[in-house]
Every structure is written in structure tokens, then in C-alpha cells.
């Protein structure tokens, strides 16, 4: 399998009045063809900024991509100017995006049809008529009934779940190589969430694309992704195949997360073990591991040495931690 996208040592920071925020601090990852990859982490860990950096959607100032290589179809996207035609030809066309709030990512004063047609006529140079026909087809495909009529409706006439379906249709309209879904279901209910994910995963098969799911919901990644990256304080702290990460988590943060969420199938007497303390302030990160103050497994080495790089424990499973936690988890 070939990597569709390969990101190496990406660093993005924001210069604010109060100081520099290192939102993404040396992140490397890749996405293979036809893969569903989960990017997990809490709010503020840099998972969204990573995705926005890849498509150069970081507003600058205050944001700035300091370094890194984003290799996509043989070219480094970071070498392109954010507003250049080359970048626009990739954004939306070859890399589709689904954002968190369908309410704010659709333009409220334009019909849904206008917004789906726009993609087709700009990127695929379709005629007005052809674009409209294709749009209706796409809307039908994502499960909008009566698509021929609904296409002339405005976003407010759709429910939250329906709006997100429209977003999925837009993201897929140009047959992209990758679809990035950034918290696609946080604003919707559980049953709608299940509907939307089922739809996205089916679409990935249908359109032969890869899917990146950015989320804080561990259940969602367990259900849908093949491979997972766990992020904390702007870095990837653990990566590996889904099964490996959930069966033998290696990073203390991943272990903490898994122990702190209640599961539908766990014994009820089992007490939740919260991660103590708070997520770090990205403004003044210590040189040591950022998880150190919250880590129950830390050793002397952790206090003395800088944040460790990702190291591979076996073939595909890597952790950014000195401590060998295996056998210590209780």
C-alpha cells in the first residue's frame, strides 16, 4: 500500500498577545489508500490545527506553519502559497473536508444546491446543468429524500443531521483522494451520529477514498478506524493499529483515557479512574514530557530528560514514553 498523504515534522504555532502557543509541535503521520485513520485527543491538543495546517487553512497571522513536509501526490503542499491556484485545486478537490458544525460551515444565505454546484463547476468545470444533475445524484446518495426538490432549499430548512449529510456530499463531490472529517458528529445526537458514520464509511468504500476522523470519542475510533494516532499537547504520543492500541495501550495518557470513560459493557461496580490534574497550557510547555504532572507511571528519567520521541515497540505500534508500562497496568 502506498501513502496517500505523508506529514513529517509539522510544527504550527500561534503568536498571541500573551505568548506563543505551540499548537502542533513536530507531528508526523501518514495515511494509506482506502484507510480510515482516527486522530484522537482532547480539546486543545492540536488535532484540528494539524488538519487545518495540512490544507493550509490556518489564518496567518496569528497562526504560522514553521516547518514540516506535507507530501501529497508527490508534491510538498507546504511549498505552495495558501491562496495560490495550485493549493485551491487541491483543497476541496483532492482533499475533501467535513467540519464540526454544519450550521456554520454551510453558507446560510445560499441554497444547498448552489453550494454543491459550486464545487463541481469550479473544480470539475461542469456546466450548470450537469452540475445540478450531479448534485441531485450526490444528495440522493447521502440519503436525502426528495433531493430534486430539496436542492433548492436553504441550510436552515435542514435538520442538523441532514446538514451534515450535505457537507458529506460536498466533501465527496469531486472524488477526493482523502476526506478529513473534523469532529463531524459532535453537534448531533447518538442515533444520528451512528447514521452519519455508517454513511461516511460506506462512502469511503464507494468513492475509493481514505478517511481521517478527528475526534475525542474513543468509541467512534474503536468502531470505525483501522489505525489510530493519539495526540496530547501538540504531539502524537501513541500510534498503531486500532486493535493493538485498545488491547495493549502503551502510553500512560492512552491508558488514562481508556480507564476514565464508562463503557456500556463494563461491570457497573468498576470505578472510573480519572486522569488527575488538568490538560497543560500550550503556552509554556515544560521541556520534559507534557503528560508528566498527570502521569502515574513516571520514573526519574522522565523528570530529567526532554520529551521522548516516538519509539516503535513492535512493527506498527509506537509510543512517546520512556516507561515500559506493560505489566504495570492495573
Amino acid at each position: 500500500m502506498r501513502h496517500v498523504l505523508e506529514v513529517t515534522n509539522l510544527r504550527t504555532q500561534f503568536n498571541t498577545d500573551h505568548g506563543i502557543i505551540k499548537a502542533v509541535d513536530g507531528v508526523s503521520y501518514y495515511i494509506d489508500e482506502h484507510e480510515v485513520v482516527g486522530l484522537v485527543g482532547e480539546s486543545g491538543c492540536g488535532k484540528s490545527v494539524t488538519q487545518l495546517s495540512v490544507t493550509q487553512l490556518i489564518s496567518s497571522p496569528p497562526g504560522k506553519i514553521l516547518e514540516g513536509v506535507v507530501l501529497f501526490e508527490g508534491q510538498d503542499l507546504l511549498k505552495l502559497k495558501p491562496r495560490s491556484d495550485e493549493m485551491s485545486a487541491i483543497r476541496g478537490n483532492k482533499i475533501g473536508m467535513i467540519f464540526q458544525e454544519p450550521m456554520t460551515s454551510l453558507n446560510p444565505v445560499l441554497t444547498v444546491g448552489y453550494q454543491t454546484n459550486e464545487m463541481l463547476s469550479i473544480h470539475l468545470k461542469m456546466s450548470k446543468k450537469a452540475a445540478r444533475e450531479r448534485s441531485i445524484e450526490l444528495l440522493k446518495l447521502v440519503g436525502i429524500s426528495d433531493a430534486a426538490k430539496r436542492i433548492d432549499n436553504y441550510p436552515h430548512q435542514f435538520s442538523g443531521g441532514m446538514r451534515q449529510r450535505v457537507m458529506i456530499a460536498i466533501a465527496l463531490s469531486c472524488n477526493p483522494r482523502i476526506v478529513i472529517a473534523d469532529e463531524p458528529t459532535t453537534a448531533v445526537d447518538v442515533t444520528t451520529q451512528a447514521q452519519l458514520f455508517e454513511l461516511m464509511v460506506n462512502m469511503v468504500e464507494h468513492f475509493n477514498t481514505s478517511l481521517v476522523v478527528v475526534t475525542h470519542n474513543l468509541g467512534v475510533v474503536a468502531r470505525y478506524s483501522h489505525r489510530i494516532y493519539v495526540m496530547y499537547a501538540g504531539r502524537i504520543v501513541e500510534s498503531g493499529m486500532s486493535e493493538d492500541i485498545f488491547a495493549n495501550p502503551l502510553h500512560p495518557y492512552t491508558i488514562g483515557l481508556l480507564k476514565s470513560v464508562p463503557r456500556l459493557d463494563s461491570p457497573k461496580e468498576k470505578k472510573l479512574v480519572p486522569i488527575t490534574g488538568l490538560p497543560p497550557n500550550l503556552m509554556n510547555l515544560p521541556p520534559t514530557c507534557a503528560f508528566l504532572p498527570r502521569c502515574p507511571y513516571h520514573e526519574e528519567r522522565c523528570i530529567l530528560e526532554p520529551w521522548p520521541e516516538l519509539r516503535f515497540v513492535d512493527n506498527k505500534h509506537a509510543t512517546a514514553c520512556f516507561v515500559d508500562v506493560r505489566g504495570k497496568i492495573h
Binding site: 444520528t192 447514521q195 475525542h216 468509541g219 468502531r223 488491547a247 470513560v261 464508562p262 463503557r263
Partner: protein, 328 residues
């Protein structure tokens, strides 16, 4: 459930809350939004009743009716044996000594210009629960310690606290007047994953320590299962299933409950591969114009023609397990 038993702290009978939809200059009523329609349940002393459902199903409205933040359109609410559903406005305040609310949004529910200590202490003054300045201070400090906050942070304002700490302040405020009953309205859904467990554990510890009774309103079924003794599932203003937590998860009967449970992913790829998924079609209908008969029938995988005829009543099928479905 038709008689008032001593062990029930709260009993809700045939509760209805309709919000009128008005139109035109004279504001004549054109329709009702039936936010809560014919809801009955009881909460025993010391237990936690979980109330789950999706957005707009009326779960928050039920909580607010019980606290009498709304005056219900119809129905009875027995709290400690007395019907409070239509107690006049002027007599409601003493009731708040016994029942309190923890809000969903720890950012919007605290006055940004008041100090944390003052937020927690205000109920003490309003209800004249302290006699002197020093007693007031002692009590506020005690409340801070109760929710595991450092009393030295009393003089800070809300924006100096993290989300989890703010929710602790909200809980301390709710506990200030020693209530016996607390409505927790989505208390953790605005918090980060790693912080949620801290608040859940705190609520459970407080319940054990102070003998509190909770109505826990949430949409996250895994959390509700973890914290509740009994669970009621709501759909579009009605309770469709109510039973103890074990029966609900091991033997869900209502098709909506089944779909809801199967929609919740379990953080374990091995378990997920073996699970059967029921994916519902369509959206929740509008409460302004609910479907005839059973509210759920347009999306129900096992609906028959009769389902659109009459509203199915809650029937007891097994001890304490009530289901509103004619197909089970």
C-alpha cells in the same frame, strides 16, 4: 405507582408541559409544542434516576418542571408527599431548600463578575441559613472542601477556573442549602473526556456521603448506565421505557431503546466487530407536529399499521420494567 409510598421522594404523575406557539399582533395561540406529554415516574429516596433521550425529547423540561422553573400545563408533582405542581410563585422559594439544580454549561451558569466564594455562599444568605459572618465563611469553606476545591481560591472569579473546577463550583452552590434532591442536567457533557470521570466520581461520592437523591439527565448512555440505579428513556416528550439499569442494558424491550444502545460505540475494536448495529432511518420528528399514535412508528423497524392508531401506554412487563410499545 398509583399511591404515594414513603420510600418515594418524588412522584410525577401525568405531567404535561405545552409551550404555546403564538402568531400575529394579538398573539393568538396557533399550536402547542408538546415538550412533555403524559410523563409519570417516581424517584426513591437515595437513588439516581437517569433520564436519557436525544435533543428535544423533553428531558430538560421534565427537570425544570420538577424544580418549578416552569409551571406545568397539567399533572401532579409530589415532592415529599406534597403536590407542588401548582404551588403559587410566592411559595416556591422555600422549596428550593430541598431541591437544587446543577447546570450543563459551567461557563454560562456562573456569574462572571462574582467571586467563587460569593457564588457558593449566596444561597446561604437568601435562605437565612447562617447567623454570622464567621459562620458564613466556615460554611463556604466547608462546601469548597466538599467538592475538593481549595478554599483559598474563594476570591477568584469564574474565568480563573478550568471547566471541571467551574462545574465543582456549580455543584458546591447546589449543595449550599443542604438539599435532599438534585437535578443534574447534563452536568458533564461540556467537559473534556479526562475531566468527565472526575465529576462523575465526585457526584457519586457526594451521594454516598450526603444521602442525596439525583435525577440525572444526559444523552450519553454509557455515563447514565454508570451512575444510575434506574433509567427512563424519553422520545419526543414521552417515556418509552423505564426500568432498572441492568434490565435496560441486558434486556432492552422498546425498539427505540435498542437502537439507542446499539448506536453507542464501545471503546474496544474486538467487541465492536461482534456487535449488531441497528441504524435508525430519518430524523426525530418535530414536537410541534408529532406523528399520530406511537411517536416512534415512522422510524420503527418493527412498526405495524396499528402503531399509528393510538398512543401506546406504559405497560409493566416484568418487575418494574415498563415499556410503551404494542409490539413487545
Amino acid at each position: 405507582m398509583s399511591f404515594i409510598t414513603k420510600s418515594n421522594l418524588l412522584e410525577v404523575k401525568d405531567l404535561r408541559m405545552y409551550f404555546p406557539v403564538v402568531k400575529g399582533f394579538f398573539k393568538h395561540k396557533v399550536a402547542d409544542v408538546k415538550a412533555v406529554d403524559d410523563v409519570s415516574f417516581a424517584v426513591k429516596k437515595g437513588e439516581t434516576l437517569g433520564l436519557v433521550g436525544e435533543t428535544g425529547c423533553g428531558k430538560t423540561t421534565v427537570g425544570r418542571c420538577i424544580l418549578r422553573l416552569y409551571e406545568p400545563t397539567a399533572g401532579e408533582i409530589f415532592f415529599r408527599g406534597k403536590d407542588i405542581a401548582h404551588t403559587p410563585e410566592a411559595k416556591i422559594r422555600p422549596l428550593r431548600l430541598f431541591m437544587q439544580l446543577v447546570f450543563q454549561d459551567p461557563y454560562g451558569s456562573l456569574d462572571p463578575r462574582q467571586k467563587a466564594g460569593r457564588i457558593v455562599g449566596e444561597p446561604l444568605e437568601i435562605h437565612h441559613m447562617v447567623k454570622s459572618r464567621s459562620e458564613y465563611h466556615e460554611r463556604v469553606e466547608e462546601l469548597f472542601r466538599l467538592v475538593e476545591l481549595d478554599p483559598s481560591m474563594m476570591d477568584r472569579v469564574p474565568h480563573e477556573f478550568s471547566g471541571g473546577q467551574r462545574q465543582r463550583i456549580g455543584i458546591a452552590r447546589a449543595l449550599a442549602c443542604n438539599p435532599s434532591f438534585i437535578v443534574c442536567d447534563e452536568p458533564i457533557s461540556a467537559l473534556d473526556v479526562s475531566i468527565q470521570a472526575q465529576i462523575i466520581n465526585l457526584l457519586q461520592e457526594l451521594q454516598a456521603k450526603l444521602g442525596l437523591t439525583f435525577l440525572f439527565i444526559a444523552h450519553d448512555l454509557a455515563v447514565v448506565r454508570h451512575i444510575s440505579d434506574r433509567i427512563a428513556v424519553m422520545y419526543l416528550g414521552r417515556i418509552v421505557e423505564i426500568t432498572d439499569w441492568k434490565a435496560l442494558y441486558e434486556n432492552p424491550m422498546h425498539p427505540y431503546t435498542k437502537a439507542l444502545l446499539s448506536a453507542v460505540p464501545i471503546p474496544d475494536p474486538f467487541v465492536e466487530k461482534r456487535r449488531q448495529r441497528t441504524i435508525l432511518t430519518g430524523d426525530v420528528p418535530s414536537a410541534l407536529n408529532p406523528p399520530s399514535g406511537c411517536n416512534f412508528h415512522p422510524r420503527c423497524p418493527i412498526a405495524i399499521a396499528d402503531c399509528s392508531q393510538g398512543v401506546p401506554p406504559l405497560r409493566e412487563l416484568g418487575s418494574g420494567h415498563e415499556v410503551a410499545c404494542i409490539r413487545v
